[in-house]
Amino acid sequence: MRVSKKYGVIAALGIVVIAGIAAVPAPANEYKNLKVLPKDISTKDLSRIMIDDFEDGLGVSCGFCHAEEKDSHKLDYASDEKPEKEIARLMMKMTLDVNEKYFQVTHPLIGDSTLAINCTTCHNGHPRPGDTE
């Protein structure tokens, strides 16, 4: 009787531990090198920024900022090899600052449709603002 009570306690503890593990939220993404965008950004939000803000706003494709893997045409999204990627980070910081400082946007986030200033405001489909071709 005493033995079964002991096993009961162990089993109960096991359930608590398992439940605890299950309660730990799964990571929202597997991104390895986010420095400006939130580290817990969802794949949907990140994809929307990449497609709607960067790709359409600058008229570029993924390879404009992301370097290819060494032995294939696949893109290595974590790599910082291309300088354009660091420039993109600076541009994001600048955009957030401008929105906060001059447009009174509190807690601005890249990709938020309520931003007063976004990539398209200046780039208008060009990789560099002011380019005409």
Partner: protein, 331 residues
Amino acid sequence: MKNENFISVDKNDDGIDRAGFLKCMAWAGTGLFCMMSGGVMKSYGMSQLIDKNIGLLKKGLTLPKADFTFAQISDSHIGFNKPANPDVVGTLQAAIGKINAMPVAPSFILHTGDLSHLAQADEFDTLDQEMKSAKTGKIFYVPGEHDVLNDNGKQYLQRYGKDTKGDGWYSFDYNGVHFIGLVNVVNTSEGGLGVLGNEQLEWLQKDVKGLSSSTPIVVFAHIPLWAVYPQWGWGTRDSEQALSYLKRFGSVSVLNGHIHQTLQKVEGNITFHTATSTAFPQPQPGTAPAAGPMKVPAEQLRTLLGVTSVDYVEHNHTLAVTDTPLVIANK
């Protein structure tokens, strides 16, 4: 106290009235209706065939006889919600409505990619749900680059890749015609050009090796397999090698999407077609700084979605984007 550093009013007057936009978008959602006859493919824009007021084939038009028919739709971008089209589900429904209004149900539908905008599960779910209402035997898919975001196409393959090879390429035969679905979006290279890759090219070579040269071939893939406008990534880096395997065949039709507009080109035995999007227009090659969703005044949208030819049909009884004029009944 007024702070001169703050801009208190931020106007974005783009001149688009939502009600008017949606009214014009009733014209959108075009697709391509293809007829195979004696191994030759003839294609018709569905906006030109269907009377939008009655939802049936336009009065006085009769389709030529065909061995079988199929439809192509493309670039549905479910999940897109920008001003270029805030109702992409509605325009997909319009495309399906046109397919369902055809006097003969197509044997199958080819969807040439960009089913979703951001490769999200809910976007694929919506697409699947809407496509269920299409009156057809089967729907074949190839992915667009939007369908393989984040995971290099894992989710796409789980949903649509049954019985396919590699990243989702495959072939099938229907009524003596050999159909080949290729994937050129998983390894898109710098500049956005599509890439087929060595593994798929080797498979293609083997796939057609045993076919007689008289076998009609239909190839479908998302990014054009001809150099439409490489500056915008509208082409496929290694498409020439793929097409070299098809040169010995008497009739080859290549169907693509990606550029959201109808273009055709004939090169030797190969006819290239690109389809309009069911979601939003893109600029003509070289007429804008870059490719991308084109926001236009509502009154221009109809023209940019390729419906100008509706008038052309009414006045001339022929089809602007067709290979063959329609037969006029009871004349």
